[in-house]
Symmetry: C2
Amino acid sequence: MELLGLVAQLEHVAFARLAADSALAPTIEQRLELSRFASAAVERRDRVLARITEIGGDPVAAVRQYDDVLDDFDARTQPGSWWERLLKAYVGYGVADDFCRLAAEGLDAGSRAVVLEVLDDASHAELAVAELDAAGSADGVLTARLALWGRRLVGEALGVVQRLLVQRPALVRLVSVGSASQDSAPPNAPAKLFGELTAQHTRRMSRLGLTA
Amino acid sequence: MELLGLVAQLEHVAFARLAADSALAPTIEQRLELSRFASAAVERRDRVLARITEIGGDPVAAVRQYDDVLDDFDARTQPGSWWERLLKAYVGYGVADDFCRLAAEGLDAGSRAVVLEVLDDASHAELAVAELDAAGSADGVLTARLALWGRRLVGEALGVVQRLLVQRPALVRLVSVGSASQDSAPPNAPAKLFGELTAQHTRRMSRLGLTA
């Protein structure tokens, strides 16, 4: 229930941000496309909420407990340009999705299937990659700035994960179960988790030709 | 094509505003519900865009020509509270939908069907009515203020329609065709149109117990 609430909240935040991105996007084509992504996030969130109801939980209460989960992150990472916004979504979601995917390993099979299915939509990431790649390849200064921005973003994002694990023992348990199921070494789950999150981030940045 | 572009643009604006409303709504339940309405507006807009493509038009160009259709309206009617926001959407959409519905009478049957179907979704209006009614019935000062706000909103909204008719002769033709098809009197379409829009507005306000 903890993780389902978190995933639902993250999808709701994704909706809100994609809608704001749509309002700010430079072209009509982007505005239309981003509004479709926002709409898809609502649909994904509602699939998770339906699962919460299915297993006897209260969807509103599940979401409410994570109401301010990204407030600090957002306050510390105000994007200064359209490209910084795009990269923020790409990096921020990347870390959040990877975390939820790893923690989902500890869930019951039905809930795990819902979470993994919901996290499987990479259409926004593809838009971000295509646009950032096109913009950056022509502009060395922008590339350097975005690389720096990406490092700030990932630092703050990992900070959010760290605070979550301190505040929510249930999430630590899920991560440990997931970690233990993959190999039989004594679980040092959080360290493994951060290693994995960082590795995925590096992979994501290199797709953009940026140094992580 | 003119009218389809306008309807698509209005649905897109509806998406943007409902998404912003969702971010500002006082309760999580309202935030969830408004995000669903925003998502439904995207779906409706895309149905209209699909029709534009179907009849050989360019959806992006059709939307672009109405890019700033509500800018003046929005600048002149900044809501000062959650209730004023709700009433603005209820009154603003009411007038816009009624106008498009009347102009749709002049369209080919296929496009008319799409427009009427798209405009048939009253779920946001029902939320607004329920909330405004609940809030207003307990508070005479609020009721008086909202009645005043409603009069300002409808004045500005009719102003938008008037400017549209001056700038877009194609819309005047649609309205005239629609008007002529309903009775055989010599068409004084714009006057009839404003009479009809005002009558519908009065009906909407009285659903809230407000004097129009």
